[in-house]
Symmetry: C2
Subunit: 203 residues, 2 copies
């Protein structure tokens, strides 16, 4: 009776340890031997639960994605009555804020390289899709066609992500937050304006 | 008389070897011991020339940035008489193309993490500034104010970069090129439209 429950608890403990290492030291510090030692289990047990070290990293990154999703949803919840531009802006600023406040786990998501030929787990793709669905939900009154809407959401997410990632990478020092925010506001504003005009033109 | 010249040739040889490894296997395969063996020199010699392995990686990444700069300049040279939108589009598509055709060296630029507190070499920042100057040159008739122009160029570069990076990371398979190109065209088009309207409104 204790078997599955022990395994479930151990899985949780290993994931929590991995999240702590990601948060304080980053992706390169996630090593099976160290985690096994801290969780007081064998490396084999970790592999048994997560398949391999990549399985553990992907599971931990999936948690970061889920936390990001919660932050974005919370930001969006405050904007239901607002115009599209303001809703997109809230989402973008919340994304920036999450990246700034969780730099190492957030970088780990994008630093991690899928092995060539490996299949990205469905649960991970679901987390991604949930994030994009937040943007799609905002623009669905402007872009009724689903495929076009999905593409627009991906482009907008990529644009905001790229600005934040490049700026954090070059470490602009004290100017960092303001500089990123200015760039994010610029791009979201110009895209929102363009999308709204398209709507007006099409109406 | 042969000292400096030998060192210069060895520096060149080591860099070329590193570029080959970056192109075929990527950043993680760049290791001092292996390169020393292939260049038939000692690890100490590599460190003597480049400071440390990071110095070598940064020098090789600087070459990739320079090659990217040449590709973008060549694309831009064909567009001198064109409207701003078309010039920006040429630049963005050339950037996408370079990333697709040089995936591993291009990823190495962004995968490489500057050690905390380390100073980014001036030569590297110069290469970056040259890339941004290409965009700034295109939009300078729209945005006369230098700081605002620089910020706009960085935001636009970040946006296009983010779209390409995210799409390549998730490996969309056969749809990859078309999907990236659609998203890049969407964002450049909407930004160019916005910038041109601002100009018209301001005129």
């Amino acid at each position: 009776m204790t078997g599955p429950s022990y395994r479930e608890r151990l899985r949780e403990e290993i994931l929590t340890l991995t999240e702590q290492i990601l948060a304080t030291e980053g992706l390169d510090a996630v090593q099976a031997r160290r985690i096994a030692k801290e969780a007081d289990c064998s490396v084999g047990t970790i592999y048994n639960i997560f398949g391999d070290i990549d399985g553990l990293i992907v599971a931990a990154n999936g948690r970061t994605l889920a936390a990001l999703g919660r932050s974005l949803s919370a930001a969006l919840d405050k904007t239901t009555a607002m115009p599209v531009r303001d809703q997109l802006m809230q989402l973008a600023i919340a994304y920036m804020q999450f990246a700034l406040e969780n730099q190492l786990p957030w970088q780990a998501i994008f630093k991690y390289r899928w092995a060539p030929g490996s299949e990205i787990p469905a649960s991970y793709l679901d987390e991604q899709a949930r994030l994009l669905a937040l943007i799609e939900g905002v623009i669905d009154r402007l872009i009724p066609q689903a495929e076009h809407r999905a593409k627009t959401a991906r482009a907008l997410f990529g644009a905001v992500h790229g600005i934040v990632a490049l700026a954090l990478d070059n470490r602009l020092g004290g100017r960092l937050r303001q500089e990123i925010e200015d760039q994010v506001r610029f791009i979201v504003d110009i895209v929102a304006r363009g999308l709204t005009q398209t709507e007006t033109a099409g109406a």
